[in-house]
Amino acid sequence: MDWINILIQGGLLGGFYALFAIGLSMSFGIMRLVNIAHGDLIVLAAYVAMVVIQGTGLSPFASLIIVVPVMFVLGYALQRGLLNQTLSGGLLPPLLVTFGISIIIQNGLLQIFGAYDHRLQEGSIETESLKFLGSLDIGVYPLLVFAVAVLAIAGLQLLFYQTRLGRAFRAVSDDADTAELMGIDNRKLYALALGIAMIFTAIAGVLFGIRTIFAPSAGPIRLILAFEAVIVGGLGSMWGTLIGGMVLGIAQAVGAALNPTWQILAGHLAFLAILIVRPSGLFPRTTD
C-alpha cells in the first residue's frame, strides 16, 4: 500500500509539472519559441499575486481574477513588442532575448522584493487530505492542482480542435508562410498565443506560490522541470506533457522513498533515460 501511495503522490505532483509546462509547450508548438524566461514568468506571476493579495485582501485563488488578465496582457505585449522581432533570424535570437528577459525578471524582483522567501496563504485546503480504502492518504491540494492541469489541457484541446482560432494556431504551427498567404496575421496570432500561454503560467504561478516558498531565483528550476515534462511527453502533444509531468513526479516520489536526498536526482535520471530510449519523447507530434 505504501508504494501505491507513493505512485499516486508522484502522479499528482506530475499535474504540477504539467501546469508549469503548458505555456512552454504552447509557445514552442505554435511559434517554435524556446522561452528561457518561462520559469521566471511563473515566479513573476506568484509575485504579482502576492502584490494583489496584499493590496486587495483577496485570497490567492480569488487573486487569479486579476493575475490572469495581467499576465495575458504581459504575454501579448511581450510577443508583439519584442519576441516577434526575433523570429525570422533563426533559433538563436529568441533564445538570447528570452535569456535576457529571464535575467531582467530575476534581478527586477530581487530589487523590488529582496531575496526573502515568500508564500501565498490559502488556508486549511493546503493541508487537508482525503482517506481512501483505509490507508491511502491523498492531499486535497495536490488533487486540486492535478484536476486544474487536466482541465487546462482539456480546455486547450477544445480550443485547438473546435474553434476557428485553434484551427489557425494549428495551421500556423504546420506552415507559417502558407498560413499568412491564407489571410492569417501571424504576428497577431503569435501575440495571442503567448497571451493564452501566460494565462496558464499565471495559474501555475499562483498554485506554485501556495504550495512552496518562492524567491526571485526560483524560476530556472521550474523551467528545467517544465522542459523535462514537455520533452518526456513529446513536443507538441499537450496530453503527452501531462504524462511527461507524471513520469517526472513518479520518478521523484520513488527516488524520495528510497532515499530522501534522491528526489530531484531521480526525476532528472528518468528524464535522461527516456531521452536515450525515445529521443523524441513518448507521444511526439511536432516533427521539426
Binding site: 506552415d175 502558407t178 498560413a179 489571410g183 501571424n186
Partner: protein
C-alpha cells in the same frame, strides 16, 4: 477594367535579382497564363503579387491601388488568393479544416463549403481525412478549394498540373471554367504550355526574369513561343 497591373516589377532574393522590370496587365474577368522554363521567375512573380516577396508599393497595382510591400494577409483581404506550388495543404488539419482556412480572409462572395463541394464532389466524401491522406489530384482540388473559400477577385494558380496524371489535370482544368464563370479573374502559372494556352485568353512568356513575349493565345505562333521560352 484593369484588375492587376505590375509596373517595372523587380524582385530580389537577397542579392540575386529574380525579376527585371516586369509589366503585366490583367483585365477583370479574364484568364491569363504565365509560361516559361524552370527558373524564369514565374513563381517569383506570383509571390510578389501575393506579398510574400516585398516590392516597392507602386510596382504592383490592384484595382488601381498600390499594394506592393503589403503583407500577404492584407493582400488576401483585398481579394487576391494564392494556390501555392506543391499545394502546401496543412498536414495536421483535415480536408474541411484546410478549406475553412480560406475563410480567414473574411471576404464574402459566391464561394462557401457547399459550393466548393459541388465543384469537387470527391472532396465531400474525404472531408474528415487529414490532408496528407489524399492523392495528389485530390490535394490539388483541396488547395484550389481553399483558395476559392477566400472569395478572391483574383486567383493565382501556381503549377496546378505539377506531378499529376494527365486525366487528373484535365479534370482540374475543367473546374477552372466553372471558377471563371463566377467572374473570378485567374492568373495561371504553368510549365505545361499547351494546358496553359488552352485555358487562357492571353499569355506572357518569361525568360530568365524578363518578359520575353506576350500575345493573345488564339493567334500565337508556336515558333515564337519556342524562341521566347528557350531564348533561342
Amino acid at each position: 477594367m484593369t484588375l492587376l497591373r505590375t509596373r517595372n516589377l523587380s524582385a530580389f532574393y537577397g542579392d540575386f535579382q529574380a525579376l527585371f522590370s516586369i509589366n503585366v496587365t490583367v483585365e477583370e474577368g479574364e484568364t491569363v497564363a504565365i509560361i516559361g522554363a524552370n527558373g524564369a521567375g514565374k513563381t517569383t512573380f506570383l509571390r510578389s503579387v501575393a506579398g510574400a516577396i516585398g516590392t516597392a508599393p507602386e510596382m504592383v497595382l490592384f484595382d488601381g491601388h498600390p499594394i506592393g510591400g503589403k503583407t500577404p494577409h492584407e493582400i488576401v483581404r483585398l481579394g487576391i488568393a494564392m494556390v501555392p506550388e506543391g499545394r502546401r495543404l496543412f498536414p495536421s488539419l483535415s480536408v474541411e479544416e484546410n478549406l475553412l482556412l480560406g475563410t480567414h480572409s473574411e471576404r464574402t462572395g459566391p464561394w462557401n463549403l457547399k459550393r466548393v463541394y459541388e465543384l469537387f464532389p470527391r472532396l465531400f466524401d474525404l472531408r474528415q481525412l487529414p490532408a496528407p491522406a489524399l492523392s495528389g489530384g485530390q490535394q490539388q482540388m483541396a488547395a484550389v478549394g481553399r483558395g476559392l473559400m477566400s472569395n478572391p477577385r483574383l486567383l493565382l494558380c501556381d503549377e496546378l498540373s505539377l506531378g499529376l496524371a494527365p486525366v487528373i489535370i484535365r479534370d482540374i482544368y475543367q473546374c477552372l471554367a466553372a471558377i471563371t464563370a463566377e467572374g473570378t479573374t485567374v492568373v495561371l502559372v504553368e510549365q505545361d504550355i499547351n494546358r496553359a494556352l488552352d485555358a487562357s485568353a492571353r499569355f506572357y512568356c518569361f525568360q530568365e526574369g524578363r518578359l520575353a513575349l506576350t500575345a493573345p493565345t488564339k493567334d500565337f505562333d508556336r515558333d515564337a513561343i519556342t524562341a521566347a521560352y528557350f531564348g533561342l
